[in-house]
Symmetry: C2
Subunit: 188 residues, 2 copies
DNA sequence: ATCATGTTTGAACGTTAGTACAATTAGTAC
DNA sequence: GTACTAATTGTACTAACGTTCAAACATGAT
């Protein structure tokens, strides 16, 4: 997380510090979403979480919307990277996906919850829609390595999403084998 | 609040009026959720939408949470009734379900959006969780008329949920035939 | 008519929100 | 050093929030 680009020829130190602050504020935003939900995100709560002042939050993110967009983008990027890892790894892809989904029931629950909350937000704000769609597109990309049937691809995406919902709603540890069975049924 | 503490048979007209008001406020709440999202729900916005005063909203729903619970329950009840109709009707059940889901992309989009928003809210408030779960349980009930395989039932529920997400996110009219194909793949 | 009870209102309380802005600090270039 | 710019702070304003409350109203029961 903390890599500093000090090896570069001539970097404006102020800019580097600014971008670090920016990242800190985004991280604080996600922490707030995780703890209190998207409704709990205000410049004040985020600033307090980040250990700075309210005005600094507005300095980097002029409006609350900017802040939420940045936060959603960040969390979506992280999740996307996980899926990409599964696609690129040599093992069975459905097994990997099943374990990733199962994380929503364990320690990754709050992260998954945050993403879901922000995705719901996206349904109403067109600016956030492409970001929210990326998760689905990546699952679809994974599916194309398994089948060519468009219906099967759609089925896998839908099943992944629905399974995630079920896990979050049940609030119980999920069984990767069961998840995998449902997924496998979709692409079969 | 007075419940059915009165054992006598006479009808109190005031009670009927009160329950009508209550229903109006719930309807207004759903209208607000539809227009501005769950974040836009305040006693003031709801009251204005219902054409009454702020205090009347708090009179019927002491806290904002009560209001949201009532609204979510109401919309879940309506959707549940639709699924029950499909279960009880003689025609092909997956065709009926597919058309119901497809409505999320047409005129029923805002209604579906409201339900989804409230369901997301449920993930963080345990009080709302049972209500949110009912939708899934009814789909499962429909599935039991088609198969005994638990994995197939879970697959149908997950697929229905995921398809709904896709439709809402794509914001395009949905093709019932395509939906049906995905659903049929789940229970096959 | 009188009473009791449910309904409705308007105003007010204290709190917190978004936002703006002048002032201050800190780093960079000259 | 001075000048410039980005980063940061403290403060203040307005608007809206949830909630409370005493009073007024409406209506069915007696």
């Amino acid at each position: 997380m903390g890599d500093t680009t000090d090896d570069s020829e001539h970097i404006d130190g102020r800019r580097a510090r600014g971008e670090r602050r920016r990242a800190e504020i985004i991280e604080a935003t996600l922490a707030v979403v995780t703890r209190d939900g998207a409704a709990g995100v205000t410049h004040r709560t985020v600033a307090k979480q980040a250990g700075t002042t309210t005005s600094l939050s507005t300095y980097y993110f002029a409006t609350l919307d900017d802040l939420l967009v940045a936060a959603l983008t960040s969390v979506a990027d992280a999740y996307t990277a996980r899926i990409r890892d599964i696609i690129d790894s040599p093992g069975d892809k459905l097994t990997g996906l099943a374990h990733l989904i199962a994380e929503s029931g364990g320690p990754g629950r709050e992260r998954a919850l945050a993403e879901r909350e922000l995705a719901t937000l996206a349904a109403r704000r067109p600016a956030l829609r492409p970001v929210a769609r990326r998760w689905r597109e990546n699952i679809a990309e994974l599916a194309t390595t398994l089948t060519d049937d468009p219906a099967a691809i759609a089925a896998l995406v839908a099943a992944s999403d629905g399974l995630c919902t079920a896990i979050l709603l049940d609030n119980a540890p999920a069984d990767p084998d069961h998840i995998q069975a449902v997924l496998r049924r979709a692409v079969r």
